[in-house]
């Protein structure tokens, strides 16, 4: 009975054993670990955010499967991209010192010839683009969408939209 740690006055058997305490400790550690791993980290919503950003850009340049007039084929659209697509890349003060937490890229090409048109758009922090090729939970979230559009003259365009969201401080 080496494992008995508490005895009554007569030294008779009690039910509290080292083994029982070991089980309690293992259960406690397991529960604390599970709770901490589930609730200890922030919710990572960057993937959803990047998806929504890409969808918003797709909605901005297209309408019912057609290229929206005054967008990719218009030079002023590129200059006022954020305003035209109703985007605001300002972030909380805690991020303000960085180079930007977002990056978007719109590449249009002729669907038949695969030749790129002269209407590529990129905006935001270009340093984030490189992470699209990499995988990792702490890396910025990257979404790529390919859409097919027709213009009013029935010319076919393929458009690739890349959206990257960093915001690592708030999500990782």
């Amino acid at each position: 009975m080496k494992n008995k740690i508490i005895f009554d006055k007569e030294g008779s058997e009690t039910t509290i054993t080292i083994y029982w305490f070991a089980i309690l400790i293992i259960v406690a550690v397991a529960i604390v670990y599970m709770i901490s791993s589930a609730y200890g980290k922030p919710y990572d919503v960057r993937g959803i955010e990047a998806d929504i950003l890409a969808n918003n850009i797709a909605d901005c340049i297209s309408e019912g499967g057609y290229l929206r007039e005054g967008t990719l084929t218009d030079s002023s659209f590129k200059a006022n991209f954020l305003k035209q697509c109703k985007l605001n890349f300002k972030v909380e003060e805690s991020f303000a010192k960085g180079n930007g937490e977002y990056y978007v890229e719109v590449i249009a090409y002729d669907f038949d010839t695969n030749k790129r048109t002269n209407s590529d758009i990129s905006y935001g922090n270009p340093a984030l683009r490189q992470y699209c090729e990499l995988k990792g939970k702490t890396l910025p979230a990257c979404t790529q969408k390919n859409i097919y559009l027709l213009d009013s003259q029935q010319n076919k365009y393929g458009v690739t939209i890349v959206a990257v969201v960093n915001k690592a401080d708030k999500n990782v």
């Binding site: 009554d8 009690t14 039910t15 709770i35 609730y39 969808n55 305003k83 605001n88 972030v91 909380e92």
Partner: protein, 130 residues
């Protein structure tokens, strides 16, 4: 008192039961405090509302049930009409005296957020053109 066949008090069994109850209580308190933490609710609702605004279109009116957060804020004696604040393109949730949680949205639309005073359980988000 727990006694054996002879009628003696079983000290070991009593201590054993008490320790088990103490252990279980501490564990349950830990789990409840972790899962029902104000900071967690602040983060959850700030991100949820920011994402809702990101995917919303002008003209939409969104009702979001925040009963748990409102109860928490009432417990902390916070003004429940001031739980959700919008400053420029940043949503801030404040459920306790010290600290809050902010998250930005990128959709450049007009946003008006207010407490639905009919039931005091929901917040209403009105999306307009900017």
């Amino acid at each position: 008192m727990i006694r054996d066949k002879k009628g003696d008090v079983l000290v070991g069994e009593v201590i054993f039961l008490v320790l088990n109850l103490v252990f279980l209580s501490i564990l349950i308190i830990f789990v409840i405090s972790k899962t029902n933490d104000s900071a967690l609710l602040e983060e959850k609702y700030a991100k949820q509302i920011a994402l809702i605004i990101d995917s919303a279109k002008p003209g939409m009116i969104i009702h979001i049930n925040m009963e748990d957060a409102i109860k928490k804020a009432q417990g902390e004696k916070q003004d429940i009409a001031d739980i959700v604040r919008k400053n420029d393109n940043v949503i801030t949730i404040k459920l306790k005296e010290k600290g809050d949680y902010s998250y930005s949205f990128f959709n450049d639309v007009g946003v008006n957020v207010y407490l639905d005073t009919e039931n005091n359980k929901e917040y209403v988000i009105v999306i307009t053109e900017k």
